[in-house]
Symmetry: C2
Subunit: 347 residues, 2 copies
């Protein structure tokens, strides 16, 4: 039974505080959109799809006190809330995509009063959540055909239930393979600096009874050299029109190693992760995060203060290194401008 | 001015406790070889050459109380001390090489009394230390010709002064380039799990006034993709007769990425790091260390207890990925059985 990453309960957004895992399973009950914005920024909720769904509910949090307000005040506030949530993280496109869906509801129903509009906004957020759940299920089904029983799968970061509302993207494939009776084993890159692989992927896989071994990121190539990895599956934060894929920093390194060892390298993501406005990966904005995430570990300084630190949060894997993208609409094999265009239609 | 990693003072071995850097510069004064064995095991002193020199002094520590003993007792003790020190770590060959030199002194002077033999053992340990210092200097000189002014150099783990008696192997090249007036910048892989790059390399380079930027290991390929790395220099723990090189885990991953991006990849090591008894890398024993090094970070558990952890401490980079090995006897370009045999003679 998979834990719910987020849930709308009593007009609040309940989230697992992912910064506390695996030590403690703590839920946050948020009723203020600014608290949610802060939670997204500090990665209490993270993973491109989960950020999108949370932000949609965040719009509801930001305006639900305005049922009696005049429509101009409501619209102004909704605009501020959407802009604030959009500014939390720059790379994952699902955030902007979900906020756009919410904005569309506000714009489409221009004649309604705030009291009439609010249920429609909540319904849209619920629909985004429901879509995500179904989307992940379809990714699992499409991807599981690639997994043979006995396979050892390497994954990086957390593209699991915790990165979505429930099933995950990369891990949805693994959960589905397990459901189909296949034996699978997972190697999880710990994923420096914030250890989403060690903390989150290992946690949710052990909860699901799937054998998982945590390794340091720098060991992945060595395992491939020893022929211990049959395939790689990772998630995505934004995919350009030509298939170039932004994902957690370190993904590119795994892709290069996979190519060197002829190990298939799969990206699992909903079609909503494609940003067709971006022709290739060079135009995807890469978030740079605070040096302290690397320099300080559980309160202790591990890098001398006089040294510089560079902390990009994502990298871009060129489409040419990707065997296939596993989407909710099926596989995109040998991703390119042409093969992407066949599956992913402009919104 | 470079700090001394180790020094023989008042019949004791004074070592920097490298587990405490960069927070504190703490020296250990060891007068018991068992304390030294424990210090090697927990990596208070680490780096192939530094381990070799320390172990040589460790033999002196183990027998210096036996000046009045009979020769049979002395020899038996020396044998135990050497075996104990040899059992501390399996991969770095310098440990065995240095202990063999000490053992040779005991065997060669079979007619001497313990009181006569002791000064010869101390002299041999001092000679091993002096050799290391000169060797590192020559590595620096031979390697610096490969470094252009303005170069950005990536290194992994710590193959610096702290890994030797004073100058280092990979970092000796960088110190020499600086001495020759070249501008150099270093990217230091933090080097999980024990962060020798973040803690030690960054520390000694800032001490030496060389600009250093710490990155997570999983960022190195991304930096190469962005053309931010001109060359890679790493150390070595053992080199097989065909040039296959065992070094800190993660080195192989960097070598694969360097090849993918056409970035020159250099190994810097004294000829004493070659083990001509080992035909290729597959026969080099790889130390596996405790899961806790990965699972627990500054006292806090980062991997759920139900998950497995795999912690190999070294990997092997095939000679084919190495542009050249920088030795104290000059460069071995395109290392192979033939090119290695031209420079490295059997002992």
């Amino acid at each position: 039974m998979l834990v719910k990453t987020l849930e709308w309960v009593d007009n609040k957004l309940r989230l697992i505080d992912q910064t506390q895992l695996p030590e403690r399973l703590v839920y946050l009950d948020l009723d203020d959109y600014l608290e949610l914005a802060a939670a997204i920024k500090r990665l209490s909720v993270r993973g491109a799809p989960a950020i999108g769904v949370s932000a949609a509910y965040g719009v509801v949090l930001g305006v639900q006190g305005l049922a009696q307000a005049d429509r101009a005040t409501f619209d102004r506030t909704a605009d501020t809330v959407i802009k604030t949530l959009a500014a939390t993280r720059p790379t994952a496109v699902n955030l902007f995509w979900a906020l756009k869906r919410m904005e569309q509801i506000v714009k489409t129903h221009e004649k309604l009063t705030p009291g009439e509009l609010l249920p429609k906004l909540l319904a849209e957020a619920r629909a985004i959540e429901q879509d995500d759940r179904e989307t992940c299920g379809r990714i699992g089904t499409h991807g599981a055909v690639l997994v043979k029983s006995g396979a050892a799968i390497l994954t990086h970061c957390n593209a699991g239930g915790l990165a979505t509302t429930q099933y995950g993207t990369a891990l949805a494939v693994i959960y589905q393979a397990q459901k189909e009776g296949k034996q699978v084993r997972v190697y999880a890159d710990e994923t420096r600096p914030l250890l989403q692989g060690a903390r989150l992927t290992a946690w949710e896989l052990t909860q699901a009874g799937i054998p998982v071994t945590v390794i340091c990121d720098n060991m992945a190539a060595f395992l491939m050299q020893q022929k211990k990895i049959d395939l790689v599956i990772v998630g995505a934060d934004r995919i350009a029109a030509n298939g170039d894929t932004a994902n957690k920093i370190g993904t590119y390194s795994v892709a290069v190693a996979a190519r060197h060892h002829n190990v298939p390298f799969y990206v699992a993501a909903p079609v909503s992760t494609f940003d067709l406005n971006i022709p290739d990966g060079s135009a995807i904005p890469i978030e740079e995060r605070a040096a302290e995430e690397i320099a300080i570990s559980n309160g202790k300084r591990m890098v001398p203060a006089a040294a510089a630190v560079y902390n990009p949060a994502f990298d871009v894997t060129p489409a040419g290194l990707i065997t296939a993208i596993i989407t909710d609409q099926g596989l995109i094999e040998r991703p390119s401008r042409e093969t992407v265009a066949q599956k992913v239609k402009p919104a």
